[in-house]
C-alpha cells in the first residue's frame, strides 16, 4: 500500500532507504577505481565507515518506519523505470515492510560485524582492496535483493550476489582449484537462476507484472496449473541458491574462499536468499500445495543428507558448510509446512550463530598456520579461551541446547510445525537435530580438548574479538524474543512479522517440546563418549561408506559422470564442428571431381576418339 511521502518520518525513510544500498556500493566503486593504490589502513577505515553508515541508516530507517503511522503497511520508493515495452513494465523500486525490514537489519548489521572482522582478518593480504571491492559490492547486491519491490529487481541482486560469491571463492586466484570451485558454484547456482528466470517469465505473462505487491494481489487468481508450475520454477531457483538437494554440490567447494566470505555469503546471507524469496511470495506459495510439499521434502532430505555428511568431515570449514546446508533444510521444511515465521526466525538466529562459528573457525585457522583439519588440532581450549568460548556458544546454538541458546527456540518452532504436516517430517527433523548436536560437538571435543597436535600463535585482535563477542551474545540470547507459551509468553518476533506473514499458528503440546529439548543433550552426551580425550590422538574413521558420505553421498561423482564428462568429452571430440566438416567434405568432393574430370582432358586424340566411341555405344544401347 503506497502512501504519499508527506509525513516527515516517511520521507526520512524514503530518502534513507536508497542510501542503505548506496553506502556499500559507493565504497565498492571507490575501491575499484583506486585500483588497490590505497594503503591497507585507509581501505579498512573506508570499509568500516561505509558499512557503519549502511548499518546506521538501516537501523534509523527501521526505527522510524516502525514508529511511524504506516508501520503495519509498506513503504514504496520508486527510483526509476527500468524497462517499459508495450504492457510490460519493470521498475527499479524499493519496498520496506516488516519482512524486508528484518532482512535488511540482518544483512546490514551482521554484514557490518563480519566486515569489521574481515578488516583484521585480511589486513596483511596484499590484495585487501580487491577483497573489499567484492565484499561491499556483495552487501549492496544483497540489500537490493532484499529491498527490491519488483521481482526483476530482486533478480539483479540475486545474480549480483552470485557473481560476488564467484569472485570471492576464486579470490586467491593463484590456485587453480579455487577458480574451479568458483566456476562450479556459479554454474550450479546458474541452473537455478535460469529456472528463476523462467518462473518470472511465466508469472509476468500470467499476471502482467513482476511487481511483488501486484503479484501477491493478482497472482492467486491465475490458473492453478500455471501458478503451480511458476512456483515450482521459483522454488528451483531458490533451492540452487540455498544449496538444497539435488543442487547442493557447490557449497562445500565454496569454502575455498577466505573465511569471512564463508561467514557472510555462504552462511549468514546469500544462501538464505531463497528462503526470503519464498517467504516474500508466501501468498502465492500457499496456493500451491504441491510445490509446498516438494519444498518440505527437499528440506527434509537435505537436513538428513547434509547432517550425515557433516558427521564424517575432517575439515572444520566443511563441517560448517554441511551444517549450513542442513540448517537451510530446516528453513525449507518450515516453508513447506507454511510456517513462515519459523523459517524467518531460524534464518535470523542461524545468521547469528553460523556467522559466529565461521568467525571463530577463521580465528583458529589463522592462529594454527592455516591448518583446517580438525584431527591436526587439539587442546586449543587453553591456548585461545575466548575463541573457545565463542565457538562453544555458536555450537550450543547450532545444536539447540534447550533454553540457553537461540537455535533452540527457532528449531522448536520448526519442529512443531513439521509435526502438524506429518509426524514423519517431525521425526526426521528431530533425528537431524540429534545428528547436529553430535557432529558439532564432535568438532568441539576434537579441536579444543585432548593433547596439542599443533602450535597456536598470536592473538586475535579487538576488531576480531568484538564482532565475535556481540554475535556470541546474540547466539545465546537472540532466541528470547520468541518463546513458546509453555516457557514464557514472549512473541516479539512473530508479532513483528504478523502484519506481513499473518498470525502465529496455535501452540503444540508440551511433550513435543520436552522431547525436542532432550535430543540435543543426548547428542552432546554421545559425542562426549565417542570423542572425549582418551590419551591417544583421535583419528578419522575410514571406510568406503564413510568416504562416500564424506564426498557428499556421491552426488558430485554422479553429476561428473552424467553431465560434466559427456559434455566436455563430446565437446572436445566435436571441437572442429561436424557441420563445418560437412562443408569441407563438399569442398573436397567438388575439388576431387574437378581434378578427376580435368584428367580426361589429356590432349591425346586417340583417347578422345575412344570416349566418343564409348559414348556412341552407350547412346545406341539407350535408344534400343
Amino acid at each position: 500500500m503506497p502512501i504519499p511521502a508527506t509525513v516527515w518520518g516517511v520521507s526520512l525513510v524514503a530518502s534513507l532507504l536508497p542510501l542503505v544500498i548506496f553506502c556499500p556500493l559507493a565504497v565498492s566503486i571507490i575501491l575499484m577505481l583506486t585500483g588497490g593504490k590505497l594503503p591497507a589502513r585507509a581501505t579498512t577505515l573506508l570499509v568500516g565507515a561505509g558499512m557503519g553508515l549502511c548499518a546506521l541508516f538501516a537501523v534509523v530507517s527501521a526505527y522510524s518506519f516502525l514508529s511511524g503511522p504506516n508501520s503495519l503497511g509498506s513503504l514504496h520508493v520508486v527510483l526509476w523505470n527500468w524497462m517499459n515495452v508495450g504492457s510490460f513494465n519493470a521498475q527499479i523500486a524499493l519496498t520496506l515492510d516488516r519482512l524486508s525490514l528484518v532482512m535488511m537489519l540482518v544483512v546490514s548489521c551482521v554484514g557490518f560485524l563480519i566486515l569489521v572482522y574481515a578488516c583484521a582478518y585480511m589486513y596483511d593480504d596484499e590484495d585487501i582492496a580487491r577483497f573489499f571491492t567484492y565484499m561491499t559490492l556483495f552487501v549492496a547486491s544483497m540489500l537490493l535483493l532484499v529491498l527490491a519491490s519488483d521481482l526483476l529487481g530482486v533478480f539483479i541482486g540475486w545474480e549480483g550476489v552470485g557473481l560476488c560469491s564467484y569472485l570471492l571463492i576464486g579470490f586467491w586466484y593463484g590456485e587453480q582449484a579455487n577458480a574451479i570451485a568458483a566456476r562450479k558454484a556459479f554454474v550450479v547456482t546458474r541452473v537455478g537462476d535460469a529456472l528463476f528466470l523462467l518462473g518470472m517469465l511465466l508469472m509476468a505473462t500470467a499476471v502482467g507484472s513482476l511487481d511483488i505487491p501486484t503479484l501477491l494481489a493478482v497472482g492467486p487468481h491465475a490458473a492453478p496449473r500455471t501458478l503451480t508450475l511458476g512456483m515450482f520454477l521459483l522454488l528451483g531457483g531458490a533451492m540452487a541458491k540455498s544449496a538444497q538437494v539435488p543442487l547442493q554440490t557447490w557449497l562445500p567447494d565454496a569454502m575455498a574462499g577466505p573465511t569471512p566470505v564463508s561467514a557472510l555469503i555462504h552462511a549468514a546471507t546469500m544462501v538464505t536468499a531463497g528462503v526470503y524469496l519464498l517467504a516474500r511470495l508466501h501468498g502465492l506459495f500457499v496456493m500451491t500445495p504441491l510445490a509446498m510439499l516438494a519444498c518440505a521434502i527437499v528440506g527434509f532430505v537435505t537436513i538428513l543428507l547434509a547432517a550425515g555428511s557433516a558427521l564424517v568431515q575432517t575439515d572444520i570449514k566443511r563441517i560448517l558448510a554441511y551444517s549450513t546446508m542442513s540448517q537451510l533444510g530446516y528453513m525449507y521444511l518450515a516453508l513447506g509446512c507454511g510456517a513462515w515465521h519459523a523459517a524467518m526466525f531460524h534464518l535470523v538466529t542461524h545468521a547469528f550463530f553460523k556467522a559466529l562459528l565461521f568467525m571463530a573457525a577463521g580465528s583458529i585457522i589463522l592462529r594454527v598456520h592455516h591448518e583446517q583439519d580438525i584431527f591436526k588440532m587439539g587442546g586449543l581450549r587453553k591456548d585461545m579461551p575466548w575463541v573457545f568460548a565463542a565457538f562453544l556458544a555458536g555450537s550450543a546454538a547450532l545444536a539447540g541446547l534447550p533454553l540457553i541458546t537461540a537455535g533452540y527456540f527457532s528449531k522448536e518452532l520448526i519442529l512443531g510445525s513439521a509435526y502438524d504436516l506429518s509426524p514423519i517430517f517431525w521425526a526426521g527433523a528431530l533425528f537431524g537435530a540429534f545428528l547436529t548436536s553430535i557432529y558439532i560437538f564432535r568438532c568441539v571435543f576434537i579441536v579444543f580438548w585432548g593433547t596439542h597436535r599443533t602450535h597456536a600463535h598470536g592473538k586475535s585482535g579487538l576488531a576480531m574479538a568484538l564482532p565475535m563477542a556481540i554475535l556470541s551474545v546474540l547466539a545465546i540470547g537472540g532466541g528470547w524474543m520468541e518463546m513458546p507459551d509453555a516457557i514464557a509468553n514472549v512473541h516479539i518476533f512473530s508479532n513483528l512479522l504478523a502484519p506481513v506473514l499473518g498470525a502465529l499458528p496455535e501452540e503444540h503440546n508440551t511433550s513435543l517440546l520436552i522431547l525436542g529439548s532432550l535430543v540435543p543433550i543426548a547428542g552432546v552426551t554421545i559425542a562426549w563418549t565417542l570423542w572425549r580425550p582418551k590419551g591417544e590422538a583421535p583419528v578419522a574413521a575410514e571406510s568406503p561408506a564413510i568416504a562416500t558420505l564424506r564426498a557428499d553421498w556421491g552426488f558430485d561423482t554422479l553429476y561428473d559422470w552424467v553431465f560434466v564428462r559427456p559434455f566436455m568429452v563430446l565437446g572436445r571430440l566435436n571441437r572442429r564442428d561436424f557441420i563445418d566438416r560437412f562443408y569441407d567434405l563438399v569442398a573436397a568432393l567438388t575439388q576431387g571431381s574437378g581434378h578427376a574430370v580435368a584428367k580426361l582432358q589429356s590432349g591425346q586424340v586417340r583417347r578422345y576418339a575412344g570416349w566418343i566411341a564409348a559414348g556412341t555405344v552407350a547412346a545406341l544401347c539407350l535408344a534400343v
Partner: protein, 500 residues
C-alpha cells in the same frame, strides 16, 4: 542541411578512406592512421548533428525521421534513396561507436601498406552506413557488396595464418547467399512491374507487392538466406569462426561488433517488415534454428583452445537470441532483439579488443598456453571479468535486457523453446567463466609471459567507455528501447511526398 546529411554519412568515410590511401602512398603509415581517425570523428559529429535535428523535428509519418532521394538510373527506376528511422539511427551509432576504437587501437600498428588498409576499412564502414539507411533495394544491394568486398582484401592481405582458406570460405558463403538476395530483389521488381506496370526498386513501392504477391514466400527466402548467412544462423555459421580467427584484430572487432548486426537489421527491415505474412510461416523454423544455435555454439565455445574461436562461437550463440526475438512476432521480442544487437556489439567488440591485446602481448591465442595473467595485469583482468559477466547475461548490464525481453517474447509463442533458450544462459556462464579460468586464473604457465606491462591508456579508456555504455544500457535501456522501434514501410504516400 538534413537533406544531404544522409548521403554525407556514406560519402565522408568513403572519401576519407581515399584520402587516407593517398596520404599513405607518400607519407608515413602514421599519417594514414591520423587521417582515418579524423574522418571517423567527422562522421561521429555528423551523426550527432543528425540525431539532434531528428529529435528536434520529431518522427514523421510511421516513425521515419529523415529522407533523401535522387534519381540514379531513371530508366530502371533506381534511385539513391535513404530513409532514417529509429532502428537505423541506433545501428548507425553502433557502427560509429565500434569503428572509432577499432581504428584508434587496432589499426594503429598496421605498418605494411597502411594507406590501403585504412582505405579498405573505411570503405567497409561507409558500406555499413549505407546498408543501415538505403531504402532502394538496388542501392541496398550495392552497399551490401561495398561492405563485404573490402573485407576480403583486408583479411587476405593483413590476416593471420590460414587466411586464404578463411577468405575463400567467407567469400563463397556471403557471395553465394548474396546472389540469392539479388535474384529475390529482381524477382520482386519483376512481379511488381507485372502488377503495376512500373519498374521500381523503391522499398516503399515494393512493400505492397511483397504483401500480396503469390510467390512472396520464395522471394522472402532469398532475403532470409542472405541475412541468415550473414548473422549467422546454424547451419550456415561455418564461415564465421575461421574468418574471425584469421582476421586482423581491427577486422575481428568490426566483424563481430557491427557486421553481424547487418544480418539482424536485414532480417527486421527486409524480411519481417517487408514480408510479414510469409515470414510468419517460417518463424517456427527460424526460431528453432535460433535455439539450436544458442545451445550448439555455446557447447562448441567451451571446447575451444583458441580464444578468438571461443569468442566467435559465443558470438553465434548470442546471435541466436536475435533470431528468436525477431521471429517471435511480438513487439517485446523485437525490441529485445534490437537491444541485444547493441549490447552484443559492445560486449563482443570489447572481448575481441581483449583477445587482440593478449595476442599482441603473448604472441599466441592458445588458451592452454596462458593462465595466471591476473597478477600481471590486474586492471585489464578486471575489465575482462566485466565483459565476461556482460556476456553471460548479468542483470544490470545491457545483454541481460536484450536476452530477457527476447525470452519474454519467445515465451508468448512457445514455452518449450524458451526452456531450451534459457538453458543457453547456463552454458554461457560455462564458457565465459572457462575463458576467465584458463586465461587469468591459476598459476603462471610460462615464464615468457612476464614482460606483459600495463595495457596502454587508450585500451583502458576504450574498454572503460564500452563498460560504461553497457552499464547504462543495462540499468536504463528505455531511451534505446523507445528509439529503436523499426518504422513500417506501409506509409508509402506520406513518406513518398516528404522525400520529393
Amino acid at each position: 542541411m538534413m537533406m544531404f546529411a544522409l548521403p554525407a554519412l556514406v560519402l565522408i568515410p568513403f572519401i576519407g578512406g581515399l584520402a587516407a590511401w593517398l596520404v599513405g602512398l607518400r607519407g608515413a603509415s602514421r599519417a594514414a592512421w591520423v587521417s582515418s581517425l579524423i574522418t571517423l570523428v567527422l562522421m561521429v559529429v555528423l551523426l550527432a548533428q543528425i540525431t539532434i535535428s531528428s529529435f528536434a523535428a520529431g518522427a514523421g509519418a510511421g516513425g521515419w525521421f529523415a529522407h533523401f532521394s535522387m534519381a540514379w538510373v531513371p530508366m530502371l527506376g533506381i534511385n539513391v534513396r535513404f530513409d532514417l528511422d529509429g532502428l537505423s539511427l541506433v545501428m548507425l551509432w553502433l557502427n560509429a561507436v565500434i569503428a572509432l576504437p577499432c581504428v584508434l587501437l587496432s589499426a594503429r600498428n598496421v605498418a605494411d601498406r597502411a594507406g590501403l588498409f585504412h582505405c579498405l576499412l573505411l570503405a567497409t564502414v561507409a558500406g555499413i552506413n549505407g546498408v543501415f539507411m538505403a531504402t532502394d533495394l538496388f542501392l541496398f544491394f550495392f552497399f551490401w557488396e561495398l561492405m563485404l568486398l573490402p573485407l576480403f582484401g583486408l583479411i587476405l592481405i593483413w590476416g593471420d595464418a590460414g587466411r586464404q582458406r578463411a577468405v575463400l570460405k567467407f567469400f563463397l558463403f556471403t557471395q553465394g547467399s548474396g546472389l540469392l538476395m539479388l535474384l529475390a530483389i529482381l524477382g520482386l521488381v519483376i512481379v511488381n512491374q507485372q502488377r503495376t506496370g512500373v519498374i521500381t526498386f523503391d522499398y516503399f513501392a515494393l512493400s505492397q507487392t511483397a504483401l500480396i504477391a503469390p510467390i512472396a514466400p520464395v522471394l522472402m527466402l532469398g532475403f532470409f538466406i542472405a541475412f541468415a548467412v550473414k548473422l549467422p544462423m546454424v547451419p550456415f555459421h561455418a564461415w564465421l569462426p575461421d574468418t574471425y580467427a584469421a582476421s586482423p584484430a581491427a577486422v575481428s572487432i568490426l566483424l563481430a561488433g557491427v557486421l553481424a548486426k547487418t544480418g539482424g537489421y536485414g532480417l527486421i527491415r527486409f524480411v519481417v517488415m517487408l514480408f510479414p505474412q510469409a515470414s510468419a510461416h517460417i518463424a517456427p523454423l527460424a526460431m528453432t534454428l535460433g535455439v539450436v544455435g544458442i545451445l550448439y555454439c555455446a557447447w562448441l565455445a567451451v571446447a575451444q583452445d583458441d580464444i578468438k574461436r571461443l569468442i566467435a562461437y559465443s558470438s553465434i550463440s548470442h546471435l541466436g537470441f536475435i533470431l528468436l526475438g525477431v521471429f517471435s512476432g511480438t513487439r517485446i521480442g523485437m525490441e529485445g532483439a534490437i537491444a541485444q544487437m547493441v549490447a552484443h556489439g559492445l560486449s563482443t567488440g570489447a572481448l575481441f579488443v581483449i583477445a587482440g591485446l593478449l595476442e599482441e602481448r603473448l604472441g599466441t591465442r592458445d588458451m592452454s598456453k596462458m593462465g595466471g595473467l591476473w597478477p600481471a595485469m590486474p586492471q585489464f583482468s578486471a575489465l575482462a571479468m566485466f565483459f565476461a559477466a556482460a556476456s553471460l547475461g548479468l542483470p544490470g548490464l545491457g545483454n541481460f535486457v536484450g536476452e530477457f525481453l527476447v525470452l519474454m517474447g519467445t515465451w508468448q509463442v512457445s514455452h518449450v523453446m524458451t526452456f531450451f533458450a534459457a538453458a543457453g544462459l547456463v552454458l554461457s556462464s560455462v564458457y565465459s567463466l572457462t575463458m576467465m579460468l584458463r586465461v587469468f586464473y591459476g598459476p603462471k604457465k610460462t615464464e615468457s609471459l612476464a614482460p606483459l606491462g600495463a595495457p596502454s591508456v587508450p585500451h583502458i579508456a576504450v574498454l572503460g567507455v564500452a563498460a560504461l555504455l553497457l552499464l547504462a544500457l543495462g540499468v536504463y535501456p528505455q531511451p534505446v528501447l523507445n528509439l529503436s522501434v523499426p518504422a513500417s514501410p506501409h506509409v508509402v504516400s506520406i513518406a513518398q511526398e516528404q522525400a520529393q
